[in-house]
């Protein structure tokens, strides 16, 4: 571009996206003076479009998200169950994100793979390495031998081969995780004996149930694995989430792999990543419902949730708790609790926000109510 210098000048004044749009639309041979005129005009329009100080953007956001939200309730369940995996979408997911819930109804990881694997190489091995395998997946049956008070676990050869686990590894894992019993390999099956003396029947039955859930191989917490093709690369979708362990695997691309658990992202990548994820997840839900909400409203919500350095839900345990005004907190939920505790602690209210001034029938600091007057008085002689 010829006028790179002029554009640079305006970089401070108008956002990057507007500059690139101007670059795209102005003719190649524009004169310097004309370009400046265009950019000045763009700057003027941009400044005009900014939210004015004191504008109650929160209320506008609430309306803009709330109104389409009412339509969402009607068609929530029609869209449930996308892409063979049970994914929570629609209003339940929206509430889940905004409330800042720590346990999700369905955790999904999207694992991007490094180069040869993303093209489709050794995908079955990738899947076998990822999926959590318990002993229950590897055995055909469990025989209870009451005469000799022992269990006989018959290993499933096909499953062992499929998940690339050898029987010796199974024995090692078992000996490590179940201390009170001895495990011995006998041909194709495992014999379980009490470490000392004879085990009674109750113990054996309890053990039988316990053994099925012993973790053997794969990534803990990954319950279901599905490979899909997205834009000419293979991506692995997983039910269940375990960011820490998945990132250690050598075929995983750690810069793009993602989970829908906001708190897990916050823990590993920090508050800014969590904010970005909140925006993306909310937009995905809203777009998935065929609704149209401007991303700015969602950004405002995400910014508010991440204001304090950690993710807070929009409820009385989250951002409402952080409000400085007692009356504002009391007006939200559980008013008596707040008023009593404020009274006990001898707190005071500066009446600096909206809701407490509404209660007291005073002008609210919003819009034209925000600025105060400053008068220059004559100096005393």
């Amino acid at each position: 571009m010829v006028h790179e210098k002029i554009f640079k000048e305006y970089e401070e004044k108008i956002p990057e996206s507007l500059i690139s749009e101007v670059k795209k639309h102005v003719p190649e041979k524009i004169t310097e003076a004309k370009l400046k005129k265009v950019l000045d005009e763009v700057e003027k329009e941009y400044r005009y479009s900014l939210a004015a100080p004191g504008e109650c953007v929160g209320v506008i956001s609430a309306e803009s998200i709330g109104e389409p939200g009412t339509q969402m309730t009607l068609n929530t369940f029609h869209f449930a169950g996308v892409s063979e995996m049970n994914v929570t979408t629609g209003l339940p997911r929206l509430i889940e994100i905004l409330d800042g819930r720590k346990t999700l109804s369905s955790e999904i990881m999207r694992i991007h793979l490094k180069k040869p694997y993303s093209g489709g190489k050794d995908l079955d091995k990738v899947v076998a390495r990822l999926k959590e395998i318990t002993l229950g997946d590897l055995i055909e049956e469990i025989d209870t031998d009451l005469v000799n008070s022992k269990l006989v676990l018959k290993l499933d050869k096909n499953q062992l081969k499929k998940y690339n686990v050898n029987s010796q590894k199974v024995i090692n894992v078992l000996n490590k995780s179940v201390k009170a019993f001895k495990f011995e390999l006998q041909g194709n099956s495992i014999e379980v004996l009490a470490a000392e003396g004879d085990a009674d029947i109750v113990q054996l039955y309890k053990l039988k149930e316990k053994l099925k859930d012993v973790y053997v191989h794969g990534v803990k917490g990954i319950k279901q694995v599905l490979v899909v093709k997205r834009e000419d690369e293979h991506v692995v979708l997983c039910a269940g989430s375990n960011l820490k362990d998945v990132m250690k695997l050598d075929f995983v691309d750690p810069t793009r792999t993602m989970t829908n658990d906001i708190f897990e992202i916050e823990k590993h990548y920090g508050i800014e990543a969590a904010r970005e994820l909140i925006v993306r997840e909310l937009m995905e839900v809203i777009d998935g419902q065929g609704l149209n909400v401007n991303v700015r409203h969602i950004m405002l919500v995400a910014d508010t949730m991440c204001m304090n350095g950690k993710v807070l839900g929009i409820n009385r345990y989250g951002i409402v708790k952080e409000k400085s005004s007692i009356l504002a907190r009391a007006s939200f939920e559980t008013p008596i609790k707040h008023l009593v505790s404020a009274g006990l602690m001898g707190e005071s209210d500066a009446l600096s926000s909206v809701i407490e001034n509404v209660m007291l029938n005073q002008p609210v600091p919003v819009g034209t109510g925000l600025p105060g007057l400053v008068i220059k008085t004559a100096k005393k002689k």
């Binding site: 750690p254 508050i271 800014e272 991440c306 304090n308 350095g309």
Partner: protein, 88 residues
Amino acid sequence: MTEKQKNSKESKKEPVEHVLVPKHEKISEKEKKELFEFHQIEMKDLPKILITDPGIKHLSPKENDVIKITRNSSTAGKAIFYRGVVSE
């Protein structure tokens, strides 16, 4: 120093690489003063970031530092955001 220790020390200095993580920078005292004067604010008015936050680990932050975050915004292309470092 063993290999493992070496690795962990190196990785501490490197910023986390992830599509979700924007660029974090620590701004100087002078820039900090200018920022506060321009917006007529104080430290407590800024949004916060925890000192233990993984996104700023490589900057070895101290309390009351200001972190400049250059976000990739879908509306503005690039958006600049500031957070003050707090200890809890």
